[in-house]
């Protein structure tokens, strides 16, 4: 409402100005709200996820804008960033402020599912765009889907499908879950459990641990006494790292195998290959896959001093494709941009066979990776072997199973 009033005011100001009347410019400023295209990177800047997103995501968005040329015709492009502190309320409030008072048009990263779900609602309410790269919950394109939210890089279905299926097929048919006790963990556990059961496996139990748990030994002993062949880690970041470390210490990895369901390359870097070797995981991006990924990653490394995670690469790709769509549409109006994105097939160093679906899900190829042994790692950050490429159409939840009200059946 307020925005419409504002653009009406701007429009009438232009109508009254004789100069503007005389020379209407082709790339009319009026089509870009507030005369600027502004991108917000809302992420965890200081907490347990700040290595896999955080400052790196801000750098990635800035790189995309610089590569795009910093300008769209005569309209400036700007990037701002903020810390949501893994708090849904803080995130939603910051996003509201950005939309209402700071002329932000699109917000990205948005890792942490609690934040992701809360901010999707804000985007819809304010009719601006949220391109969620970092959060994993499938609710974002199911129960909580809306026309102003795109889920870009991965979700818990894709993770569970890739890793769960591969492990059950190779004999890991009994599972016990260590689950982070919030939206993301529950979603990851459920999606993986479904895949395990669908492929003939059994789930023997689960334990829900608080986010940011300091000590995992108790939970791991419960997993151990379940006698499950596979301990599925339905958590992320620091929690996954500490769980893997404790599992090694207690010798659990001798008789049972760990399945990290959301493992980022920054986690592997921190754990070291001796602790992490052999683990199977699903990722949407690996820096060392081909020349295109290496070219981006080396440039990113120069600036961030680490290789990009799936979130970093995703934020770059999302920002770049957003700007391209804004250019093609000739406006930064969220609905028009989304419609433009839905029409095009997207393919870049990050998205392979990318296609934006009706429910807001960006589907693209995902990869099943195995962590290398220390001896096989030839140079810094040489961590993964590609085991399989999971084609875009198969990697994500099929539309037939969609619980999104926007999807017509």
């Amino acid at each position: 409402m307020k925005r419409q009033l504002l653009s009406a005011l701007v429009a009438s100001a232009f109508a009254l100005a004789p100069v503007a009347m005389a020379q209407p410019k082709p790339a009319a400023v009026g089509k870009f709200s507030d005369g600027i295209v502004k991108i917000g990177v809302l992420t965890d800047m200081s907490g347990l996820y700040s290595d896999l997103g955080g400052q790196g995501s801000f750098i990635a968005a800035q790189m995309a804008v610089a590569d795009f040329g910093n300008q769209l015709g005569n309209v400036k492009i700007e990037v701002v960033s903020a810390d949501h502190q893994n708090n849904a309320e803080t995130g939603a409030n910051r996003m509201r402020e950005w939309f209402d008072r700071q002329q932000v048009d699109m917000v990205t990263d948005l890792l942490n599912s609690a934040v992701g779900i809360a901010t999707a609602k804000v985007a819809n309410e304010k009719k601006r765009l949220a391109i969620n790269v970092g959060a994993g919950s499938t609710r974002i394109t199911n129960e909580d889907c809306n026309p102003h939210t795109i889920h870009y890089a991965y979700d818990t279905y894709a993770l569970g499908y890739g890793t769960g299926k591969a492990i059950v097929k190779t004999g890991g048919d009994t599972w016990f879950f260590l689950t982070a006790d919030y939206a993301f963990g529950h979603s990851l556990e459920k999606d993986t459990a479904d895949v395990v059961k669908a492929n003939g496996g059994k789930v023997l139990g689960q334990v829900r641990h608080p986010l940011n748990a300091a000590d995992f030994s108790s939970f791991l002993l419960q997993a151990q006494s379940s006698k499950a062949k596979i301990i599925g880690l339905a958590n992320a970041g620091g929690d996954t790292i500490n769980a893997i470390k404790a599992a090694n210490e207690f010798g659990i990895t001798k008789n049972q195998n760990l399945a990290g369901l959301l493992v980022f390359i920054t986690d592997i870097h921190s754990l070291g290959l001796n602790t992490a070797q052999g683990m199977l995981l699903t990722d949407g991006f690996y820096w060392d896959m081909d020349d295109k990924t290496r070219a981006f990653s080396k440039r990113f490394f120069e600036k961030a001093k680490k290789m990009p995670s799936m979130v970093h690469a995703g934020v770059y790709s999302a920002t770049m494709n957003y700007l391209k769509a804004v250019k093609a549409a000739g406006t930064d109006d969220a609905a028009t941009v989304v419609a433009t994105l839905k029409k095009s097939n997207v393919d870049d160093f990050f998205l392979r066979n990318g296609k934006l679906r009706e429910d807001g899900r960006m589907i693209h190829d995902m990869y099943l990776m195995q962590v290398k042994k220390q001896a096989d790692s030839k140079y810094p950050w040489d961590y993964y072997t590609l085991k399989a490429t999971i084609p875009a159409a198969e990697a994500f939840q099929p539309m037939s199973a969609s619980r999104c009200p926007m999807v017509k059946k």
Binding site: S50, H209, A214, S217, S218, G238, E249, G272, T275
Partner: protein
Amino acid sequence: MTELFGIPIQAFLSQILLGLVNGSFYAMLSLGLAVIFGLLNIVNFAHGTFYMLGAFGAWMLLAYAGLNYWFALVLAPLLVGAFGVLIEKTMLRWLYKLDHLYGLLLTFGLALILEGLFRQQFGVSGQPYQVPEALKGATNLGFMFLPNYRAWVVIASLVVCLLTWYVIEKTKLGAYLRAGTENPQLTQAFGVNVPRMVTLTYAFGVALAGFAGGLAAPIIQINPLMGSNIIIIVFAVVVIGGMGSILGSILTGLSLGVIEGLTKVLYPEASSTVVFLIMALVLLVRPAGLFGKEK
């Protein structure tokens, strides 16, 4: 198989043991806090940060100076203690006559700054640290495999805690300390250098945190946030035990570790809350804490 609350007795025993390991850290940290509060009247909010510094100290000594775990376990607390001296001499001593709140704010600010600096430098994913060769492996206790390192943690922290208690409660030095706490002017009049004693007490308190950090290094990922993750619980422990009570903080630390451990089996979702629930209950019944004396 014998069961208790529907859980096998073996599982119970192993959770109690694991709880003791965590309790050892709580005990060491809350002990340092209690000593500092007792003598300096400072609520040392930077305590978790000193714990983090101890762990990072151990890691840096290995990574940059090539010194192994055993050297680090001695050197890291000394370095942290020396840093404590610096903080006390340059900042804290101006605040003793003011309200507790000022000390709390200063140390809280320090904690944020130090944590921020380390986060900037090292990120949050953390640094790995290997268990020392001599303590690798695990012992079969019949009901569980206990990693030898965890057993060492319990023993080392118990020895340190009991020594501290002994020195403060049973020796002449401890008597000076306690006298200084009761009446600094009078103690000074008897020829005891109270300001120096205060400085050294602070240094000792934070060195204890540094020692705990060094002990924790091989079992958790060393990261800048580890201090702020644990410190809130430690404060609850101190409140439950009674501010300033030495034996109180040791016993409460250990027993709360055990209670937390058991909660992780009975109702894992509440494991991060149970300590605070107990704190609320204790405050309702005994506002001065279980072992504290009302003034």
